[in-house]
Symmetry: C2
Subunit: 149 residues, 2 copies
């Protein structure tokens, strides 16, 4: 019996990427009215929750490459949703903070996010979703340095 092409992919990387594409598309549709992508919503949300921090720190918190976050900030800065200024203690560093406009947009987008979250969990199951998030968090924070990388 040949391998079923529609079975779960044997590759862990492909599996998580496919799921990410699908879920991102779904959430993006709900966020579209507020003109924020899921990435942008995540950044604003995290920055608002954790308070002002550097690009380096936020990138680490987002499990994102530093240079990627640096670019992702640009559209948010251009629209005045995130403030960027040189740190006074360490002039190499920049301080990121959510502006009042950013907070307003974040609140607006949160309504759409809640609908997306509810719709997803309605289809997938709230319990399963919680378990999935926990496992994915383990993956995202897994120490892979020892794994012969």
């Amino acid at each position: 019996m040949p391998t079923d092409p529609n079975a779960a992919p044997p590759c862990n990387c492909l599996a998580v990427r496919q799921a990410a594409r699908r879920v991102t598309q779904f959430y993006d549709r709900f966020l579209a009215p507020s003109a924020l992508r899921t990435t942008q919503f995540s950044i604003l949300s995290r920055l608002n929750r954790s308070g002002p921090m550097s690009i380096h720190a936020l990138a680490e918190a987002m499990v994102m490459d530093r240079t990627t976050l640096g670019r992702n900030i640009l559209p948010l800065e251009r629209e005045g949703l995130v403030g960027v200024e040189q740190s006074t203690e360490d002039r190499r560093s920049k301080n990121l903070k959510v502006t009042p406009e950013g907070l307003a947009r974040l609140k607006e987008a949160t309504a759409g996010w809640k609908r997306a979250q509810s719709a997803f969990e309605g289809a997938f199951g709230a319990e399963r979703a919680a378990a999935l998030r926990a496992v994915l968090h383990d993956v995202a924070t897994l120490d892979l340095d020892e794994a012969g990388a």
Copy 2:
């Protein structure tokens, strides 16, 4: 007690995207010697397993937007790893197939992929990984049309 910023993210979308970034970076390092990205490896692998097919069909199989796959094919075509030709039955459609060079590169990259897969499962657990792939496959194939999208 305030929310722990390092806890698992409450957003399903963020959780899966963070995990995808992390795992992709890990696999990419193992694939780098063969000069293939994980996306390219996935495409070659799937196309080789399922045989020649159209952009539309392959995109669906990859859980990827049609236009995204169309662009992802370009570097592979440029390097002669994938052949692209007009279909004779349906002139709107294009037939994609893995070339002999593509097959050779795929085999070469598979060695790196196996190391990545082993290293990841060594750190995360083979059983857990299998369960994770199954759940992620459910997510990727979940019917979200009913979910108020």
